[in-house]
């Protein structure tokens, strides 16, 4: 399993920085359309708003609302190029999500440790593949 220590300090620093934003990252990703915007920006890089709009069956003002909220959460940055507004992804605040689910992931890892112990302790009365033998 990966060791969490190396990234812990960075995550703490990020969480502190994220506190400065007016919308929290949980609210931001709670909406499927906003998750889709993040996915599009991740896969396709920065894009003008018009290009993002092509992917959604919604009016431009609604998309603008979503983009504004993502910006307020620190998940996207906005840049004006000529008459177009371009949006780019800022991944760092997503770390707050990882921290959110971490206790549950730890719960499952601990339980699966228990499962592994139980399996190791049982007599091998169920055979493995034909040439596997019983060397474990």
């Amino acid at each position: 399993m990966p060791e969490p220590t190396a990234t812990a300090t960075a995550a703490t620093a990020t969480a502190t920085a994220a506190d400065a934003f007016t919308v929290d990252v949980f609210t931001a990703v709670a909406n499927p359309a906003r998750r889709e915007v993040l996915r599009l920006l991740r896969d396709g890089g920065p894009r003008p708003v018009g290009e993002l709009a092509e992917h959604f069956d919604m009016r431009r003002p609604s998309l603008s609302e979503h983009l504004r909220l993502l910006k307020d959460a620190g998940l996207v940055t906005e840049r004006r190029v000529g008459r177009q507004r371009w949006y780019a992804l800022e991944a760092a605040p997503l770390r707050a999500l990882t921290d959110w689910l971490a206790p549950y992931e730890r719960f499952w890892n601990d339980r699966i440790d228990g499962l592994a112990d139980l399996l190791d302790a049982e007599r091998d009365d169920i055979d493995g593949p034909p040439n596997a033998g019983h060397h474990d």
Partner: protein, 141 residues
Amino acid sequence: MTEPTSIDVDRFLPHPPEKVWRALTDPERLAGWLMPNDFVPEIGHRFTFHTEPRPGFDGVVHCEVLALEPPRLLAWSWRGGTLDSTVTWTLAPEGRGTRLFLRHEGFDPDDPLQRQALRIMGGGWRSHIMRALETSLADQP
């Protein structure tokens, strides 16, 4: 994107899928590594897991068998506290053993109670899936 509202764990177990399957579906064995339960391997069967109550959680997880394809696929609904979620186990033969995948999905990032309950449980592990996502995201210009 990888759904940021789910947990993925995978683990290699040096035992054949049939044996891992039995540990997942035999109520006594299941109680031995997860929680006391009244599980029956039958699609649609409703059952519960019991654990210690905590603030905001009475210690009972209400479940229903959603998928059952021995020895490959097992899914339960998982409702407890403010959670309304799904747990899916997938078993794949790998060498002399089994690659066990767990997906726990349906966490609601917009539910303050759920977030509070999770915070009470304390911090710890970071998901390698999320880390992979972050790395991939960080590579963007």
